[in-house]
Assembly symmetry: C2
Homo-oligomer: 279 residues x 2
């Protein structure tokens, strides 16, 4: 068998693998293999890894090799996660209960509370979704892309849906909801943004109509009045406008163990200007 | 073809499907089908759906039918997501750019800041992970299960890792990091919990050692001093203990459009007791 994905150890073909941080191995298949030959190779690899005391075995299979999926499943693997171009399968060798980490469980959405100097709030009606056709005015919302920071994603979504340039101010609140998309959950971050431009250019594909609406008029909308979440959005947004509310703002942190930056969102006002509460 | 997954319309077999909220259809395959017959059936279905103006086509394929994956991929489907027992594939019929929502992108982790009446903080050393074997004391952390609320998951994790019963107080801060697990991102919620019991019983599988440590001793640990994120954790945790810091606490909200409850986390102190900031 002449494959770049396997190495010959005596008469046993073992798939090329790299170790992970948890006593397991990761195999990234790239070259096409004959399914029969692949199955033999996988069986031999599992024997070898068992002897080595390997625990979890990951196989990353590009979509071009979809014909091998059933052969991997036949060896006791299950699906861990999938992205458009690949499927990740996993298997646990020991007899003990597995400690394979769960798949990503949440989509991350953002909503933008944007109010201009004339006390008008930026609102839209969407072309699709559960509220379409109801005349329901809502703040611009969207979904964070893979690898995108919350503070960047919300500015991008407002620009895409309404054409308005903004700068990020603060996360005012967040909501966790379940079973929002198949079995997946949703984390929605409500953000205050400061508008930097004022001429609306709505996104044709997703937005029915967009406008700056006087905030009192928005607060009095019957559908907003009846929508519990919108009322919370208004309450924290108005409190923030009056400067009596502190949300969370991002601080860049460097990890010590892996070479990576991330952002921690915290109540910076209370850390900088500590004040005893009236509670 | 005698399958519960298809219906015969004249001489065209069309797969049984239900409409989604976005002009698409969802097919849930359950019964095994001969791969060749299935391919013909899928081709006919796609023609029919194209005529009907259907946009997105979802196929949920149980792992037992893994042999059909390649036949679905051959018709232009790609992977959307996967869970242990099934693979979800998707295809976009129109010539326009697709508006298929992204897969779940984030795992949700929690960390618990638990301090007892003797000003001791609950800390652990883990058996695996990037900090194993370094003598690094950290607060108990874990990953939220599918469908689990943050305030419930963090209490469960503390109980599992240390045996300590707690009650949830507040989310003090959160961190978003990328590429933390394959290409997936991570949202980590730092929570303040109030301890309800004191006798530690550590989890054998994951925890090397667990203890109540005087908080000044913890703050002086060299590895904590050098770990930027731990310093932020300490700063907000200590500010909260001194009652000068407001995080986010959960409020139950009912959705108006779908029959579902969720929790919004917000700065309840500032809403109840508004006070002008010193900024």
């Amino acid at each position: 068998m002449a494959s770049t994905d396997s190495s010959n150890r005596g008469n046993i073909e073992v798939l090329k693998a790299v170790n992970d941080d948890h006593g397991g191995v990761i195999v990234e298949l790239k070259a096409p293999m004959d399914p029969g030959a692949f199955s033999m190779c996988l069986k031999a690899s599992l024997l070898e890894w068992r002897n080595q005391g390997i625990k979890g075995v990951w196989i990353k299979l590009p979509i071009e090799l979809a014909g091998l999926v059933q052969h991997i499943v036949e060896e006791g693997f299950w699906y861990h996660h999938a992205e458009p171009s690949y499927l990740m399968l996993v298997h646990w060798i020991p007899a003990t209960e597995h400690t394979i980490p769960v798949n990503a469980t949440h989509r991350v959405g953002v909503g933008a509370f944007v109010v201009n100097d004339r006390k008008e709030i930026l609102v839209v009606q969407e072309k699709s979704g559960t509220s379409r056709g109801l005349g329901f005015w809502k703040i611009p919302t969207g979904v964070i892309n893979q690898g995108e920071d919350i503070f960047a994603g919300v500015v991008r979504e407002v620009k895409e849906e309404t054409g308005i340039d903004t700068e990020f101010v603060e996360v005012l609140a967040f909501r966790q909801s379940h079973s929002s998309f198949f079995e997946k959950s949703d984390l929605f971050f409500l953000c205050m943004l400061h508008p930097l431009s004022f001429d609306i250019q709505k996104q044709e594909s997703e937005i029915e109509v967009a406008q700056w609406m006087p905030i009192e008029k928005y607060a009095a909308e019957p559908l907003v009045q009846r929508h519990e979440f919108s009322k919370h959005v208004l309450a924290v947004g108005l409190a923030k406008l009056e400067n009596t509310y502190a949300g969370f703002s991002p601080v860049c942190v460097q990890s010590s163990f892996v070479d990576q930056q991330s952002y921690i969102y915290l109540n910076g006002r209370d850390l900088e200007h500590p004040q005893a509460t009236s509670l």
